[in-house]
Symmetry: D2
Amino acid sequence: MDTNELIKLRREFRQIAEVGWLEIQTTIKIIEYLKSLGYKVRYGKDIHSKNRLGVPPKEEYENYLKNIQLPNVDFDISEIKEGYTGCVAYMESKNPGPNIGMRVDIDALPLIESKDEDHLPTKLGFASKNEGFTHACGHDGHITIGLGVAKYIAENIDNLKGTYTLIFQPAEEGVRGASSMTEAGVVDHIDYLMGAHIGMNEKNGVLGVGTQNFLATAKYDVEFKGKMTHAAAAPELGKNALLGAASCALNLHTLPQFGKGMARLNVGVLNAGTGRNVVAANAKMLLEVRGDTSENAKLIEEKMKKVVEGSAMQYDLEYSMTKMGEAAAFNTKHPEFTDMIADEMKKRGFEIDLRPSLGASEDVSFMLKRVEENGGKCIHYLFGTQLSAPHHNEKFDYKEDVLDFGVKAFIETIDIFNKL
Amino acid sequence: MDTNELIKLRREFRQIAEVGWLEIQTTIKIIEYLKSLGYKVRYGKDIHSKNRLGVPPKEEYENYLKNIQLPNVDFDISEIKEGYTGCVAYMESKNPGPNIGMRVDIDALPLIESKDEDHLPTKLGFASKNEGFTHACGHDGHITIGLGVAKYIAENIDNLKGTYTLIFQPAEEGVRGASSMTEAGVVDHIDYLMGAHIGMNEKNGVLGVGTQNFLATAKYDVEFKGKMTHAAAAPELGKNALLGAASCALNLHTLPQFGKGMARLNVGVLNAGTGRNVVAANAKMLLEVRGDTSENAKLIEEKMKKVVEGSAMQYDLEYSMTKMGEAAAFNTKHPEFTDMIADEMKKRGFEIDLRPSLGASEDVSFMLKRVEENGGKCIHYLFGTQLSAPHHNEKFDYKEDVLDFGVKAFIETIDIFNKL
Amino acid sequence: MDTNELIKLRREFRQIAEVGWLEIQTTIKIIEYLKSLGYKVRYGKDIHSKNRLGVPPKEEYENYLKNIQLPNVDFDISEIKEGYTGCVAYMESKNPGPNIGMRVDIDALPLIESKDEDHLPTKLGFASKNEGFTHACGHDGHITIGLGVAKYIAENIDNLKGTYTLIFQPAEEGVRGASSMTEAGVVDHIDYLMGAHIGMNEKNGVLGVGTQNFLATAKYDVEFKGKMTHAAAAPELGKNALLGAASCALNLHTLPQFGKGMARLNVGVLNAGTGRNVVAANAKMLLEVRGDTSENAKLIEEKMKKVVEGSAMQYDLEYSMTKMGEAAAFNTKHPEFTDMIADEMKKRGFEIDLRPSLGASEDVSFMLKRVEENGGKCIHYLFGTQLSAPHHNEKFDYKEDVLDFGVKAFIETIDIFNKL
Amino acid sequence: MDTNELIKLRREFRQIAEVGWLEIQTTIKIIEYLKSLGYKVRYGKDIHSKNRLGVPPKEEYENYLKNIQLPNVDFDISEIKEGYTGCVAYMESKNPGPNIGMRVDIDALPLIESKDEDHLPTKLGFASKNEGFTHACGHDGHITIGLGVAKYIAENIDNLKGTYTLIFQPAEEGVRGASSMTEAGVVDHIDYLMGAHIGMNEKNGVLGVGTQNFLATAKYDVEFKGKMTHAAAAPELGKNALLGAASCALNLHTLPQFGKGMARLNVGVLNAGTGRNVVAANAKMLLEVRGDTSENAKLIEEKMKKVVEGSAMQYDLEYSMTKMGEAAAFNTKHPEFTDMIADEMKKRGFEIDLRPSLGASEDVSFMLKRVEENGGKCIHYLFGTQLSAPHHNEKFDYKEDVLDFGVKAFIETIDIFNKL
C-alpha cells in the first residue's frame, strides 16, 4: 500500500474513533476492506467467548446506534451491532508453510479530542467526529498498518508460504477483547504470531524487538450505595456515598509503593451524587491495579479490596466490586528467538532496540502466552515514533511515517518466517 | 376544587416531574389550567430578569425537548422552551381591596424515583414517568394547592375584594427562580403575600404559622482542570483532578462546625475523569453552603473557597468557582402580624405551631423580604403531613389529604386579608 | 476577701497550672488555705470512686513529681500524689438551715502559655511556670472565687444558717472528675448546689443565671496498630497506621452536621510513627464527641465508631477505643427556681442574662443532675467578663474584676438560700 | 578476632543502641577499642563540617545525657557530648602502598525493640537497654565488623602495605553524617574505599558485589501553625493544623507513582495537637522523598512542596519546611573494577551476586562519589544474611555468622588492594 493510501485510511479511522465493544463502524469498514482483498473473514459470536468482560450496558448500544449512520453492506452485521466487534481474516497460499498470525487492536478511548488549532488532527480536519471518543493510543495506526500488511499479503500470496491469520481485536483498552478471542480459539493454530504497538516511548524510527515487561492488570468497577437525605434539614439521617468514594479514592492512591518490582493503581473515573442539596446516596468508581509480576498485581489487588471495604464501613455504605477486565504479565520463554529476529531485522536495515520495556498492560499478552503454551513462537515490536503528547492525552498524535515503517517491519518479519 | 380533582391533578404533575428551568410541560399545563379559569397569565421573558442563575446548558434543553412530547396549545411557548418557565396569573375583583399574592414553586429534583413496590406512587402507577426527575420535595402538591386556590378565587371573585396575583415559580431547588422573578418586579405591587411548604417536619395535620429560620445559602459549581496521562506508563506526568476533587470534598465537609448559630455544607455531586487507565484531567463538583445568618453563611463561604484553592494547589490544578444560586436568610420584621394570623387561623379550627423553624433554604425568602421592604406584610406556612421518607429521598411521598388542608389554609387566609 | 488578695491568689494558682488528676501542688495549696480558715477538709481516696476515667499512666506521675517541688505540710499527701486530687471542705453553722453546696473546678489545660509580650500574664510575670500546662479556661479564677467564698463563710459563720460544703473538683477538662466525686457521694446530702463558669461568651459584667444547654459528651482514646517496615526498601510489607489515623481524623470531622439540635466532634491530638524512614506502625488519637441531647451524642458516637473501624480496615490495622471521660446533657427540671433566683439577683443589683446557653460540656452536670434527682435544687451561673482570646487558646485571659464579681454573686446566692 | 568476641561485642553495642548524633556511648566505646589496638583516632569537630543536617535540639542532648552513665576515659569527650559523634582511625604500615579506606555506620533507629520472647535479642537478654532506640538496621553488626577488621589490620600491620583509614560514621539514618564527614575531608586522601551493608534482601551467605541503585533522597521536617479554639464552643474560630496535616499526609502518599524509574515518599511521623477539646493549632511531620535518579528525586520533591503548600491553604495555616538530611544517587563509574573484585572474591570462595540493587538510600554514596571524583576506586558490598523481620522493624535481627563473613570479606578485599 502506498503512503498516501495509508495516511488516507488512518485519517478515516481516526474520525470514526469508537471505544471497546462499540467499534461497530470501525469493524464494518475493516471487514469491507478485507473482503475486497479476497480474504475470508470471520466475525461476530463466531470469534468470541461467552464471557466477554466489561461489556457496556444495552442502553449504551442503543443510544450509540441512534447517533451513527451505518453503511449498506452485503454481510450480516446484527451481531456486530450487539458488540461482538472485531474480525479475523484468513488467506492461504498454495505453498506449504507455517501458520503465520498478526494481531492488531482497533478501539479508541473515551476522551474528547483536543479542539486546539495546535493539535494537527484538528487543524487538518481529521480529528474524531465521534464526540467523546478519540484514538489517543494510536490504534487507528494499528488498524491501518494491519490493512497495509493485509494488502501486501493478498497481492503477494502466490509467492508466500503457509497460511495467514490477521486478527483485528476489539476492546484492548480495558484489556477485555483478547481474553474473549483467545478463549474462542482464534490463535490456537498459529505457529508464529506477531504483534506491535506504536509509540510507547520508543525512539523515533527505532524498532523495539521483543517487548518485555507486560504488566499484569485487573480492572474493577466499584459501587457504593448509601442513603439520600436533605443536606440541610436532616444531614445526619443520610449515608454519604460521595464522601465514602472520596475517602476510597484518596486512600487507594497511597497503596502502590512496592519495594520489589512495581505496582500501579488508578481511579480513573469517579461519579457520585444526584443533586447539590442531597446527601449523595450513590457513587461509582472505575479503577485498575497493575503489577510487573502476577504476585505484585495480586498483592495490590488485595490491598485495594481492603480500602474499598473500609471506606464503605466508614460511612455505613453497601458496596460492590465487579471485575471488568484483566491482562496477564508476559515475558517470552524464547529469548533466543527474539535475538534471532533482532539480528535479522538489523540486517534488513532497521535500527534495533532490544527488549524494550512496555511498563504497561496490553492484552495481546493473552495471545502471546497461548501461542507459546501451544509450542509456537512470538514476536512483539514497538514502532518508535515522535508523539505530540503522552498516550491517553487528548492531544495524542504521531508522525504518520510510522505507518510505512510498521507495514515494512511486519512484511520483513513475514519474510523471515517464510525462510525459517 | 374537590378532593378527587386535587388528587388527580397532583398525580398528573408528579408523573411529568421536571427540574428547575426545564419545567416546560409543567408550565404549559399550569397555564392551560389557569387560562381555562379565566386568569390573565404572564410568562416567558416577561416575568424574568436577564440574570437567571444556574441555567442548564443549551444542549440539555435540546436533548430534553427531544425526549418529551408537547401538547398543542393556543399560546406561544417558544420562550418557555428556552427555560423561561413558571408563570404569574392575575385576576381582579370588582370590589376595592388589597393586592393579595400567593407564591408556590413547581420544580422537581434530579433523582430517580424509587421503583420499589412499597413506594406508593410506584405501586399506584403515578410515579415520575420522566426518568431521572422526581417530585421528592412535594412541589407537585404545591402546584396542585396553588391551582386549587386559583379555582376558588375564580369561582368566588364576585365576593372577594382587591386583586389576586398567583405566582408559580420555577427553579426553587438550587434557589434560582425567586431572585429572577423578584428582580423582574412580580411582587412589587403586592400588599399581602402568602407562601407555604408541605412537610418539613411539621406534625401531621398541624399548621405552622410564620415559618422562621430561613437559611442563607449560596450554590457553587467548582471545576478542576489538570493534565491527562497514561496511568501506568507515565503517571508522574499527569495532574490528577480526581484526587484534587476527592481531597476537596473530604476537607470541605470538615468545615461546618459553628459555635454561634449553625452552618451547612454539602458536596452533592462529584464527577471526575474520563477513562479507567487515564489520570483524570477534569473534575466537577456541585456544592452549597448555608448559614442561619448571613454572617455564618459568609464565613463558611470564605472557608470553602480556601479549601477549593488549596486542593487545586495540592495537585497543581487550575480551578473555577461559579455561583449557581442564592437565597437570603429571612425572619419577618412583623412578628405581631404573624401572631394575629395565628390567632385568626386558630379560631378557624386549625391546630397551630407558632413560628416553626425551617432549618433549610427556600428562595421565597427573596419575595418575602421584598414585600416587607416595600411596606407589605407576609405570612409563610408549613402544612404538616406524614412523610414516607425524608425530603429529597427517592421514596419521598406524603398523605394526599394535605392538598385539601393547604387549599383551605390559603382560602381562609385570603378571607382574613379581605377582612383587614 | 479584698480584691488584692483575690488577684494575688489567682496569679499564684495560674503559675502552678496543673492538668487533670495531676493538680497536686494546686490541691495541697487549696487544702492549706481551707484548713487555715478552720474548715474540715476531706481529700484523697475518701472523695473519689474507684472508677476514675482518663487517669494518666503511672510514669507520667513519676516524671511529673520529679519536676516539681512539694511544700512541707502537716497532712498526708500520699494519695494526692497518686492522682486523687481535689478536696471537699465542710463548715457547719450553729443555726439550723439547709445543706448548701458550691462546686468549683481546679484543673488547667495541656497548652504552652503564650510567651508574647502582648499576653498580660506573660508581661506581668504571672503566666504558667509549669511549662506545658496553662489555665486557659479560667479555672484559676474558679479556685480563687471558691476560696474567696470560703473565707466569707468562715468569717460569717455565726450569722449563717445550715451547713456548707465546698467542692474543689479536679479533672473537669476531659470531664473526668465530677463523675468520680458524684459516685463517691459528695453531693448526696446537699439541698442547694451552686456552680459557675467565668467567660463562656457572657457579656462583661453580666450574670448569666440558670445556664442551659450543657452538652452531653464522650471522650475517647483511639489507637491503631499496624506493621513497621523500611519505607523505601519494602514499603508494601508495612501496614501504615499513620495513614489510617489521617484518614480517620479527616473522615471523622465530616460527621457533625445534624438537622435537629447539634453535634460536635474533635480530634484534638494525633500522634503517629517513630521514624522518618519507617512505615508507621502505631498511631494514637484523642477525640471527643458531643451532642445537645443524649440522643444526638449517642448517634454521633455510633457514627464515630464506624469511621474508626473502617479506617482500620482500610490499612489492615488493629485498633482499640477507650472511653476516657463523659458528661451528661443537663437542663434543669425547675425553671421556676431559676426565675426566682434571677429576680432576687436582679434586686441585688446584678444585670441578668436569663438561661444563657453553654453550648459546651461541663461535668458539673453530673452533680447538678444528682442533686435534682435527690430532690434538691441547683443554680448555675455564668460570670460575664471580657476575654483576651477564646477559651482554650494559649492567650486566654480575663479581666480580674470578675473575681470580686463571682465572689459577690455566690455570697448573695447564699443569702438567698438562707432566706428561703 | 574470633567469633565469640565478635558476638560479644555486637551484643554490647546492641544494648546501648543510640540514634544519629546521639551515639555518645557508642562512639566512646569504639574509640576506646581502637585506641587499645594502637590506632590514632580523630573525632569531634575535627572530622565534621559546620553544616551538620538534622541535629536534634539542645534539650534532647541534655535530657539524654541525664539518662545515661558515661565511663571514665582518658580522652576529651566534650565535643562528642555535643553531638560530634563518630570517629576516624588511622594506621600506617611500613610498606609503601595505597591509601585504603573502610567506612561503617554506627547509629540506631528511634524504635522500641520488641519485648516478645520470640525475638531472640529479647530472649537472650541483649536487646536494647536504651528504651526507644533500637539497632533495627544492623549497624551494631557494622560497628562490630569494622572493629574486627581493625583488629586484623593492627595485628597484621607489618605484612600489609599502605595506610589504613577506618571511618565510623554517625547519623546514617536520616542520611546526615556522611555529607558532614565528606565535607570535612575525611575521604580526600583515599585511593580505595570499601563499604557494606548487611541484609538488604541479599541471600544468606551470598556476597553482593558492587551494590548499585543507591537512591537519592531528601528529608524534610514540615510544620503547620494554625489557631487554637475551644472545639465545642467556638470551633469556627480555629484553624485546624491537625486536619491540615492529615490532608497533607494522605495526599502526599498519592504522589510516588513514576513511569520511568521510581520514586518514594514516606511521612514517618506526624504529631499534632495539645488537647482533646482544643482545635489543634500545631502539627509536625517528618517525611522523606527518594528517587532512583536525581531527576526523579527532584520531581517528587517539587510535587511534595505543592501538596504541603496546598494543605496549609486548605485550613488557612502557616507552614515551614526544613531540610534535615540528604543523600545522592550513586552508580559507579568503574564497572570493570567491580567485575575484577567480583572475580577475585569468587576465587577466594565467596558466592557472588553481581551488582545487587540497593533500592534504598545510604549516605555512603557521598563518600563513594567523592573518592571516584578524586580519581580513586570504590567497592560496596551486601553481606547476605537471614533476617528475622524487615529492616526498621521492631523485631529486626540477623544471623550472627554474618559478622565473621563480613570481616572475612573486608580482609580479603584488603588483600586484593595490597596486590594491585
